[in-house]
């Protein structure tokens, strides 16, 4: 029986046929891998996802992580998965050989994480954060720090976290107050509070390594005075043994979803005995941390896509099995003597299923595109490398936000397909509905991502990244011109691209004259518009790839119906989703100020 949470066929299509990982494998850096061996990795991950992860998905919700006697207790499946991930070399598989990795392309590593997210989104975070924290030490840490920490993290003996948020400093990291006091031995005493630390306690490991942002005494105010530190739960003594490092789990957060994934409050230095070691350059901590944050943002987008994917396959199966109502006859009546039809035959149910399919497959394609750019950034040189970097910078906030926001819409529609059963805890859709809600909150809220997109990414290097994106979209439109039935969709996409130009022509003058509040007031609407177009680009790409394969039969691994379904879903997207760009444009170019404080004080707006 096929699994009910994902499709290995769709993953293979994305990696091998659509985004053509072979382009990456042709490089010297990745020459030790080929498609066959990478497919074997995917199959192995899927095996584990089916046997060890999905079976405990519901149970981890019903028996959440909890705080007791100063520590957090989590489901034992996490320890088992950590062992499987490390025994099989998955944790940090994308690292270089010298750093304990296997030089696996990010495209593949991302696909493996996606499978895990589809199967059970409570587990992957422990693995992903440990890899991210280790990567920060590898990139910016001294050799001594690398030798001390990275091998133990990759072996799964220790796990890792990122510790940024404080009670008074969430989205506004410039306000963090955790202190780092220099010591004679080169370490720093750390004192402060960190909250919402994912995976901050719980795994049955000897040590947890918190990559922590703190402010060295006397450092400048704001983000330019933040440094990055390795702060282990247990510090390493001269003889190699571990001793308590005065990092206390002060409590946990009970949440509406992702209940198996611990979220804790850490208190550093209550006994003035917490030591940290600086990673990278003093006062450049936030810039260093962005490496991990950018990776984590793609991870969140990927996880959101995974959660929505699992919800889609559940609702699809339900729609195929649930008999309800009858097809209308030509005179508009129903013949109640006939057997009921399954609900997948009702157009409105099909619309909801296609909505889900277009969102999840579009989102996964966009994220795979981003991982390919990350791989290209590593292997390319000169201008091509710079282009890959800029485009990745531009796409990352969208790759985080679109799956997180539209994934919620997709799951709502999946739940709707279940009717009243969708609202019942006996059925899984309500869990997916709750689990995905965090995705638009952590690792930068949708508001923060939107400000990043419009405020920084669109304008960086005088709009160079936007030019590269436009060029790439134009290349896809040119490729689609080979197929008459795809041409109308390319034309629609071109028209929406021109709308973005109109919006920027309207907005940019506000930025140029220093009215940034006006420029950024509707950044979230701009995010919706830009993401919608970028996903439309992905769907046109999928349409072109499917057409090529159907006509050439260059691959026989998947059935023709798989590729035909891609083209049909593309049509859905262009009919039902892409037109929403028009509404965004109307809002963004409407001169009326409604939310700006200068036009309406809060006490007038909300009296």
């Amino acid at each position: 029986m096929p699994n009910i949470f994902s499709s290995i066929e769709n993953i293979r299509f994305n990696i091998f046929e659509l985004h053509k990982i072979q382009d990456i494998l042709n490089s010297e850096y990745y020459q030790d891998h080929d498609e066959e061996s990478l497919d074997m990795v995917l199959s192995s991950v899927m095996d584990v996802a089916e046997k060890d992860m999905y079976p405990v998905f519901r149970e981890m919700d019903e028996k959440p992580a909890y705080y007791e006697d100063g520590k957090v207790i989590i489901h034992p499946a996490v320890d088992k998965m950590l062992k499987i991930a490390t025994d099989n070399g998955w944790l940090g598989s994308h690292f270089d050989y010298d750093d304990g990795g296997s030089r696996v392309p990010m495209m593949l590593s991302g696909a493996a994480s996606y499978i895990m997210a589809c199967a059970n989104n409570n587990v992957g975070g422990y693995i992903g954060l440990t890899a991210g924290a280790a990567n920060l030490i590898i990139t910016f840490g001294t050799q001594e720090l690398k030798d001390l920490y990275v091998p133990k993290m990759l072996s799964g003996d220790w796990t890792g976290t990122m510790a940024l948020t404080e009670p008074q400093a969430g989205s506004s990291l410039s306000d963090i107050t955790t202190k780092a006091i220099p010591q004679e031995d080169g370490s720093y005493k750390i004192v402060g509070q960190k909250i919402f630390i994912s995976g901050g306690d719980g795994p049955n490991v000897d040590n947890i390594i918190h990559l922590t942002l703190a402010r060295i005494e006397g450092a400048p105010a704001g983000t330019k005075g933040i440094s990055l530190f390795v702060v282990p739960k247990n510090r390493i003594s001269a003889d190699g043994s571990l001793e308590d490092n005065d990092v206390i789990t002060a409590g946990d957060f009970q949440k509406m979803g992702q209940k198996g994934y611990s979220t804790v409050h850490l208190s550093y230095g209550e006994k003035n005995n917490c030591h940290g070691w600086m990673v990278g350059v003093e006062n450049r901590g936030l810039a260093h941390m962005f490496q991990m944050m950018n990776g984590a943002r793609l991870d969140v987008g990927l996880t959101a896509a995974g959660v929505a994917t699992a919800a889609y396959y559940h609702s699809l199966q339900y729609a195929k099995e649930r008999p309800q109502g009858r097809k209308l006859s030509k005179d508009g009546t129903k013949d109640v003597s006939q057997q009921q039809t399954t609900i997948i035959n009702h157009p409105d149910v099909r619309r909801m299923l296609l909505l889900q399919k277009s969102v999840i497959e579009g989102a996964f394609s966009l994220i795979t595109e981003c991982y390919k750019l990350e791989d290209q950034e590593r292997i390319l040189e000169g201008e091509a490398k710079e282009e890959a970097h800029l485009l990745l910078e531009l796409l990352t906030p969208m790759a985080k936000t679109y799956p997180a926001e539209m994934g919620q819409v997709a799951i709502t529609n999946g739940l709707q397909i279940y009717g009243g059963y969708g609202f019942c805890t006996e059925f899984p859709l309500q869990q997916y509905y709750r689990d995905i809600r965090i995705m638009s909150l952590y690792e930068g809220t949708t508001g923060i991502q939107s400000l990043d997109l419009l405020g920084r990414k669109v304008t960086m290097q005088n709009g160079r990244a936007m030019q590269i994106l436009t060029q790439r979209i134009s290349e896809t439109m040119a490729a689609s011109a080979s197929y008459d039935d795809l041409k109308p969709y390319a034309a629609k996409l071109q028209a929406k691209l021109e709308m973005v130009q109109e919006v920027m022509t309207y907005l940019l003058p506000f930025a140029m004259k220093g009215d940034y509040e006006k420029y950024l007031a509707d950044a979230s609407i701009f995010m919706q518009m830009a993401s919608n177009i970028v996903i439309a680009w992905q769907w046109l790409k999928m349409g072109v790839a499917a057409k090529e394969i159907l006509l050439t039969k260059s691959k026989v691994g998947l059935a023709s119906s798989f590729y035909e379904s891609k083209i049909e879903t593309m049509k859905y997207y262009y009919k039902y989703e892409l037109p929403k760009v028009d509404a965004c444009k109307e809002i963004l170019t409407n001169p009326e100020d409604v939310t700006l404080s200068k036009s309406a004080e809060a006490n007038i707006l909300f009296s």
């Binding site: 029986m1 030790d32 066959e36 061996s37 990795v41 199959s43 070399g89 696996v104 099995e321």
Partner: protein, 246 residues
């Protein structure tokens, strides 16, 4: 202890099965193939365990075309030391058994492993044929094995229970569930697999004795009937008169 493990390529368990050429050929369009699970999960892994306990070498053998190399590489990734593919399209079990037996004669194998059956044709014929062709013992449906020197104590699944037998090497063993626990190939194994030897040997030109004339799919099962929970009488009537299970 040197082992030869016979591996087959079978359609993935969820593949949609259809036929062409007047229902005489299996239609492979859109079908994903895997290593036969009984060969992979139990036969191969038990051979690897034996190697880990007693030393020696594990060779896997497949009879088929180059497209089978994917599953052979997986066996190498899981831990086999080397592989052999007899380059021919076999048409029946006798042809496959003869090719394997002919190859086995060229080596010094203490044990020849294979799954208790393939999940596509479910013939369960190969083990007995190989043993006969090599004139050695055959132990079928083994669910547990302990090896001490050149003597193996084996538990066999039989109807309603277990039979315990003892046998001297060399012998052929068909692996059932329980003989070992599935292993997945790790990153190191996958990367090493490409560097391990995969020898392609020509067919010994054995002819098949059986040819397939036609395949027939089972009749479609009737649709699900939903019975109102308040109408237990109707449920009992259906179970009695239609399903005939009570």
């Amino acid at each position: 202890m040197n082992s030869l493990v016979c591996i087959s390529k079978t359609p993935e368990t969820t593949a949609k099965i259809s036929f062409n050429d007047n229902n005489s050929q299996f239609d492979t369009e859109g079908v994903q193939f895997i290593m036969n699970p009984y060969d992979e999960w139990y036969a191969l892994v038990r051979a690897l365990e034996a190697k880990e306990q007693h030393g020696g070498e594990v060779t896997v053998i497949n009879v088929g075309p180059a497209s089978n190399d994917v599953v052979i590489r997986k066996a190498l990734a899981i831990g086999a030391d080397k592989a052999v593919r007899v380059d021919t399209e076999a048409n029946d079990a006798f042809q496959v058994a003869s090719e394997i037996a002919n190859y086995a004669k060229t080596g010094n194998f203490d044990l020849i492993y294979l799954g208790k059956e393939t999940i596509d044709y479910n013939g369960a014929e190969l083990g007995a044929m190989i043993a006969e062709l090599l004139d050695i013992a055959y132990i079928s449906f083994a669910s547990k094995m302990e090896v001490d020197g050149n003597v193996a104590k084996i538990e066999r699944d039989i109807e309603g229970g277990i039979e315990v037998v003892e046998v001297q090497t060399p012998f052929v063993i068909s692996a059932a569930k329980g003989l070992a626990e599935q292993r997945i190939p790790n990153m190191r194994g996958i990367m090493m697999a490409k560097r391990k030897p995969l020898e392609v040997v020509p067919s010994s030109s054995v002819q098949a004795k059986v040819s397939v004339k036609e395949y027939k799919l089972p009749e479609m099962k009737s649709g699900v009937k939903l019975v109102d929970p308040d109408n237990m009488d109707e449920l009992v009537r259906l179970l009695s008169e239609e399903a005939k299970v009570i």
